[in-house]
Symmetry: D2
Subunit: 441 residues, 4 copies
């Protein structure tokens, strides 16, 4: 496969629908890294390494030296938002990064101004904003987005584009007829079908142009048959849904550990307090529903109650999010986990995570942008399950159970990279280190 | 390899040096399970399943139906202790299990009386006890243990024996000349070398007879060249050190998760409160030192500060254990973890684990006994690295870095079982689920 | 005042509307205490002492030896419930106390069978039950309760009765015209005014007979002008509302401490998980509203944002209750408190209380029963503010700010007892211990 | 008493032995407050109010408007330290306050340079420093301090001076013969008695000049008969020991609450992690011993196990401090409290306090300085028990049990102020609000 991966020469454009706390944090971060005043902690594409060969070979190159990725000083950022603040102003309002850091890169940030957004209040009740496209049909909106992308590409001298949805969570809807085929979807765009959400319009525009699209929110977006069909047609990678940060990240770390040891789980109560725009949007029950479905699915897959009914058959799982302005972007989660062990004796685990929402999400946006671009250059089209690692609710082939266990997701990601570059896959068997044993076999 | 594994017919004798809280909990538990009044939660050999083949095949047999293991109703327990209480009395004093449960299996427990122990106060200052062997030399003590094993085997009609050290933590010592070769070690036994600890005497006796030996405490025990040599000579499996329970279990679950995401770690403070005999022994600084070394090594390996100096180069790791009688066996751990993410912004994770020491350790003892017996029947001699999963400080081939990441340990264990039975190893690559993609490659 | 307090001779009847977890725990507890197999921990009337005189006098008698209280072996319990289970069966279902304890007092508990309850589903949606009175008007229901009380008194040979509401929280309502005067209230009873709740009917019946009434739930109940008027008319003590247990107890302990030190509070987030019947009832938003109002009022009074706007003017206070069946009656609360100190620097306090709902409430029921009886014998009629100590939302004279600070409430309670018995009030001035200082003044 | 309090006219000099994190935080804070860029949160003398008269009068003046205190813009700071950094440099190194704040008041801070300190390495092993007085005898050192005070007073135009010990904790010693009388103490100063610590030399110098002295560390310092005698002789107020901040503050808030409700306490485990100079000093067991004794005494007094043996007779109390550099001055405490209630059922409380050591201590230093000056002007000499509120281990009249309950301490402080100004003491009886009741009595 190795020879097939095209090089990362030329500039990569990264377009972000939704330029709030997360998007501005990633943009400001890349600017700061390029200036040498901060490090891109948390991004595998920048800081991560990968083991190759046997343990005794001691080969742990950086991932970015192993696979051909776009370099940070060769990317351009742009995007859309319902507010017209430039990235500097939006970042100051988001209060994620310190003013002293933002001021050091102020000109770069002020130069990035959001394009007018596709917005539909029926999908996000708690937001307002004036920087909004107006058009007669959803198809016209999609065409405007297509124009935006092409203009951005030319204006910034990019030879490749990727798009990562960083917008808020839309209200809960289920797949319906209009989402079933590309034809029905395009008809729906023409006649303003109410089941087509803004995020779908962005995804449609991207895929139409062969631009890889990753979805950071729990909305359906590109996880509908119509857009999977379009992705295949245009040979474009897609991935989603919902960035895996904070509490769910911890859950997909911890649950595999309990499962590994065959410890039972009777109840898992998770609550979150946060005070940013995301918290405000999720204060609306319709939007929270979308998030809740995404968050709840996680344990089911990891613990497999159908296969382990004595251990997980009675699991009571509850997830709550509370809007709490004093914390701003400093999301805090608290989990209580009721487990049981030998002979059924019960124990409890409490986890209190004082995290920062956008700080955890920003490197995911960057990794997804660079890996999606890699996938495109490797001619891997359609659903990129190997990027499940980054999502609360990974999109998979229809009928295929997603993997939520973050460690299986990591091995999947790493073995995909090894496979891409023609290296041996790693199985951790390691019996060959024990010479005498091997001879005995 | 499959045809080589001998069947598990005949009775297995499980001998436990140290019959305190852990040993009595495992013995009582097996009795209760055999009586149908409790379940062996936490034991992979009893409750765990293993995925075979592709995800879409949906093959998840129980491990005990996949590999030939001794059955619970065909094992006999015995052991040694410095106190002469039978298992029922010792379990009542340990206060791990409820009296109502113990009373339901009282006759079975009362029938098991500890043999006189090899004990040396210079290795465990805070314990006393009268049920102790007396002999002129350590070699004679070893021979008495050998006799004990043979007598037990005959008296209980066993055709195979395994030994699992469940005794307290001995004081800290390092490998010295007497431990270097089997010859120097046997000379040391004859002339009472003070660097030969009681646990080494048990291990020597077991290995001499070809009895697999696993070490549940952080003492050196069988992790010395002399006993590795003996294990090879007699074709006997060995494994160690220090059962991975409670706080360290959580640490080897969580640290891989942070490392997976390239999140930095600045500090990790771990404290434990517990009030059982283990807590009392560890209240002595010499014994705590042995434990501390075992507990501290864990992060170093998982986070690899040499390979990731920006992320883990300045990690400050501190571990404390506090004797706190009000909790008894209900160990409680508290961790504070100072992490940092994107651009160096700091976050904190607090974990409060209200666990039960012996409840977590008991299924490990059972699994080790059954898997060590399996290894013996599969003719796998010497160090069993595939059982790293159960240890805080896994014994490996000299010069080989141990794996502490519990998820790599689990894959190692599972792929070893698959390899043993001739099944495909699992790599989680999974590209073949995406038909069109595969065709493209 | 001392000579006015009548003796506690004769039997006291304690009647409890609502015989669920709390009521059965108090009844079983008193039975167990009388049998000498448990102690009435948490009840000031049984375990508490009171300092008298100067610190150097060392006079700390038990409260029950200082004021004349009914003795535990001279009380009789009864009550009403919508379920017809006797107290033994109800206690077994509530799962608060261990079966072994309940079995030791089974006959005493089985002998107590709830009378048919006044129930109105429009006030508690999530409950059902068949053991319910039927009558044409609310006035008739009240008369049936009056009959019940008189019959109970005679059947049990009591010479005094008190009533403590232990039922569930009714839905939120505000005081309206029908509650304004005794006349309008009695008219409302006759014509089935929907604003008259079941708990008001019990209170009316009690007060009509001169039976002291304390209200353990946050419902209005006796906190309406009509019933205050009736209490005065019949010379009857009343007190309420809402037993102060768990999280609110902690809040009224901690908030005074922060206020004492002039530390600012920016946010206070409180969440609760519990799985008992109370949790189920509060899962309905209408009923939770009643509870929420009661719980939120606490901080306002203690911190006095009007007087300390720089410290408490922006306080964001949020309270959540989550129904979580795995915990049963073992309520667990988690608080995050954002405080700030010197120069505005912020700090955080996290409190995790693993409590037991009914275990904390039971001694309050007992104390209230005995102290209300004492008040009656001391001829103290109307609102008993000195019992604020026991309530989340203390009932006070109209227009008088309640005290929520538990330490002021305790001093109020203790100084009331001292005053009643003719002892000096305590001010903690204590300058007289410093002889030379006193002379200097 | 009111007429006796002299006015606060003229400048007050505040001298601080030990100019590390705490002292620099208070000095910088007062400068910032005077500049109008920050608020003196946490200082009762600045932000606190006091209720006067009946609840219905609504009189809550600020304390500083009620009693005559020195004003912040009329104080001068000075002190001694073993390091010669000026206050700006020392504050930058302490990393308690943000550089931006310190830079705004840089000139004022740079102008304050510590005088050479009295230092004796035998009392603080883990510290070093060059800015140290050298003299042949301890008496000569005392005389140099006396000179320093007089020079400071004149140079800064002060008409009154107070001294507050802000230095590190000295190693543990007990009162011995040399501390018994002023005569023996002065002889000890002359012949360099090793039992006279540096802090005693400062206290002696202050008291000799009639300068009030408060002790913020747990060292004996002025809590010895010799210096009490001197304080009486020169009519000087003294107070101590050990600023009540962080974990102990929480403990004296919470323990009274548990005691109020007659809840039993079986165990209380407290651990602290901190990384400042204080943490380094307390890493030495000799110095920790002094702290431990101070911290352990607290519960004994509040819970009174002698009077409540069933509730507190078996209390196991353990306190640990761990040096943990990643946290710097951001001390973090974790408490586990094992309580029991009704019928002995057990519950647990966990408190995690993310505090800031110096931020909590700074306002205490200010309050003590201003209140000690007030005491002096009110002619209150000797031990000031009414300031117990600020201390972990309050100094009291010999033989008098100290009050640790922070709420009793607060009432003592407030009633002392009321008494000083001729206002009614407050008893919280409040029966008079209930007109009808009063008439009945």
């Amino acid at each position: 496969m190795k020879e097939q991966v095209q090089s990362a020469d030329g500039k990569l454009g990264i377009l972000l629908p939704g330029m709030g706390a997360v998007a501005t944090t990633v943009i400001a971060g890349v600017a700061a890294v390029n200036k040498g005043i901060a490090q891109p902690i948390g991004a595998l594409t920048q800081m991560g390494n990968i083991r190759l060969g046997k343990r005794t070979e001691n080969r742990y190159p950086l991932i970015k030296e192993f696979v051909p990725l776009a370099e940070l000083n060769n990317v351009a950022f742009g995007g859309w938002d319902v507010y017209e603040d430039n990235v500097y102003d939006a970042a100051m309002k988001a209060k994620v990064l310190e003013p002293s850091l933002l001021n050091a890169i102020r000109p770069e940030l002020e130069a990035i101004v959001p394009m007018k957004a596709v917005f539909d209040k029926s999908f996000i009740k708690n937001l307002d904003g004036q920087n909004v496209k107006e058009a007669a049909t959803k198809m016209e909106l999609a065409k405007e987005v297509i124009n935006d992308i092409e203009n951005f590409k030319e204006a910034n001298g990019c030879n490749r584009i990727v798009m990562v949805w960083c917008g808020s969570t839309e209200k809960y809807i289920e797949t319906s007829a209009v989402h079933e085929t590309l034809a029905s979807f395009e008809a729906g765009l023409e006649n303003n079908d109410p089941a087509i959400s803004p995020s779908m319009i962005y995804a449609y525009a991207a895929l139409k142009l062969g631009v890889p699209f990753a979805n950071g929110a729990p909305n359906l977006t590109c996880d509908i048959p119509a857009l999977i069909e379009l992705a295949k047609e245009t040979g474009t990678p897609i991935a989603g849904k919902d960035f895996k940060t904070g509490q769910t990240l911890m859950k997909t770390i911890l649950a595999p550990g309990l499962h590994a040891r065959a410890l039972g789980v009777r109840g898992w109560f998770s609550t979150n307090i946060l005070g940013n725009r995301d918290g405000l949007v999720l204060d609306d029950p319709d939007n929270f529903k979308t998030k809740e479905v995404s968050k709840l699915s996680v344990l089911e897959d990891i613990l497999q109650p159908d296969i382990n009914p004595e251990l997980y058959g009675d699991l009571y799982h509850k997830v709550r999010i509370n809007y709490y302005p004093p914390h701003g972007d400093n999301k805090e989660s608290w989990d209580n986990i009721d487990i049981f062990g030998w002979l059924g004796y019960s124990m409890q685990i409490k986890i209190n995570f004082l995290c920062r929402d956008s700080i955890l999400a920003a490197p995911i946006v960057l990794d997804l942008a660079l890996f999606m671009d890699l996938a495109k250059r490797a001619e891997m089209s359609g659903i990129q399950e190997w990027l499940s690692f980054y999502f609360k609710s990974p999109q998979t082939a229809p009928g295929l159970r997603p993997e939520h266990d973050i460690f299986k997701q990591l091995i999947k990601l790493q073995n995909t990279l090894r496979h891409m570059m023609g290296e041996d896959l790693i199985t951790h068997l390691g019996l060959d280190y024990y010479q005498d044993l091997v001879e005995a076999l």
